[in-house]
Symmetry: C2
């Protein structure tokens, strides 16, 4: 079996064109929505001593030469031993013969990449035509990657950022200024929202960070955080106020996305939800005052497509 | 990640003692029955063009240093291209940190081995004390391995064998005679059963090959074949006649083992089933005329234990 390590995978991604990468994840959204993807329920192993979680995500897309099995683990006490908490790899197999094609020892990089690309794809199709300023809520790796990849779909470099830790926020601002963004540090999520008509939330929050009253008309919000039950970033009244709620996967968003909370509170209807894969194939007409929300939980077709992309470009 | 290929794995197994290997699979049965194993439902991907199946089996045993993910595929038209139909690997991870420890590229060998060891373990604990003759129904790789590993637990070398293809049967007999067995070729399953008080069925049959009337008092039968819905080797009346029905996993046997058919026909009761893991810890007293049946569907703890064994002995 061939192996590609993180540095080899990064080289392949760096050499690829932005358009190809964007298109790769557009295809992932479409495959989930048009029925061409087979994505069984995620496998899970839960450990208690020490605590840890292993997730096995797998599936294939009709017509794609590969099937992919992603194994991701989080053992939360690893850092006490100086080890990374998270581990990950993707195994790529030939979908016609079952033969193993490649092991991508990406250490979780491809998951970060496909997640950031998903944010860029959503902004490309749903954000206002003219972005006045980008709001980033969250200061982690994914916050950095979201902002960097947004520059593939918008020329706007004006950024307002907020994070709970003022230290991490300062570091985030400094780093992103070095990368050419004009970053303003804010004292609250609401302050971010005052100045921005494209907002990305990318935190591990379990409480709403933005409410209906925070958001100006004509704003798009992409919420990346709610990838598991218990997490949320947007209040139910914000979803109720939205003119459009776009899900990466209706099934997953209903189960544990932002949408889950708003449905439970009885403030939105399942019938109003649309999938991003459906929106990509037609152009979305936003009225100037529309508020739109994208609820991203992370979908296995993104893993399949990004892994296939790496293999096709190696 | 470290890799072990088939030949390296075979060397490790060959160097190990028979007692250790038998004990390894005894522990697998016990772990399944005493609640120390966590074995989620098997993951499955089904392909149609060309037809193929991928199974992902995974789990861990409390106190074991590893968790194991086994990926096994069968693409049934591979042979037309001169490729093996079946592929398999086991991935071994550290159960305390999630770090990948080793990839066992065993090409399915460890599954054959743990299956044959399971047969030997069952005979050690359930077969009559004095084996007059061993019956083997089936002529494939697993039939060969079952017979070879039975010699680890009994001195009997007298064998009666039957298989549907007379050509494959002749080849089986010839090979096993070379290995020191006294093998008699039979014209039917019933003819095998006439002479033997230990019978192993190891076929892909979808119909019963042995009925109650074929079996002499004082016989043990191990049925290996029913590892998926639709398969069976023993008639329901044979299970009804048995004094003991031992399952590797009650849950799996009820779902798709020999037991499934006899339950469906209303000829046995769920309450009469026992698990092999429960029997191993106590000694089983067979009356001289007892008929006993073991229904083996294959259990993930065997994969976990055999993979852990290879890692511990590398």
């Amino acid at each position: 079996m061939k192996l590609l390590n993180l540095s080899q995978i990064e080289d392949i991604v760096t050499a690829a064109s932005k358009e190809e990468l964007i298109q790769c994840i557009e295809s992932a959204f479409i495959a989930l929505s048009d029925g061409s993807a087979t994505v069984p329920p995620v496998g899970h192993l839960g450990f208690t001593d020490p605590p840890g979680d292993v997730h096995i995500k797998y599936g294939f897309i009709k017509g794609n030469p590969y099937y992919v099995i992603k194994i991701a683990s989080g053992f939360y006490q690893n850092q006490l031993q100086g080890l990374p908490n998270n581990n990950g790899m993707m195994l790529v197999f030939n979908a016609k013969t079952g033969e193993s094609e490649c092991m991508l020892q990406d250490e979780g990089y491809l998951t970060e990449l496909r997640t950031a690309l998903a944010g860029a794809v959503v902004s490309k199709h749903l954000a206002p035509k003219v972005i006045k300023a980008i709001g980033i809520i969250g200061t982690g790796i994914q916050a950095r990657m979201q902002l960097e990849l947004l520059s593939w779909v918008t020329d706007c470099k004006t950024v307002y950022a907020y994070g709970r830790s003022s230290e991490k926020l300062a570091q985030f601002c400094e780093e992103m200024i070095e990368k050419g963004f004009d970053v303003n540090s804010c004292d609250s999520s609401a302050e971010v929202a005052q100045s921005c008509n494209l907002i990305v939330t990318t935190t591990a929050s379990q409480e709403a960070l933005l409410s209906a009253e925070d958001i100006n008309p004509g704003t798009h919000i992409t919420a990346m955080g709610a990838d598991a039950p218990g997490k949320r970033e947007l209040s139910s009244d914000l979803l109720a106020k939205a003119d459009l709620i776009a899900c990466d996967s209706k099934e997953q968003c209903i189960d544990h996305g932002e949408v889950y909370h708003a449905l439970k509170d009885g403030l939105i209807e399942e019938s109003s939800l649309v999938e991003i894969g459906e929106l990509i194939s037609k152009s979305v007409d936003r009225s100037p005052d529309a508020i739109t929300v994208a609820d991203l939980t992370g979908i296995a077709t993104q893993d399949i497509m990004i892994a296939s992309f790496v293999l096709a470009h190696r």
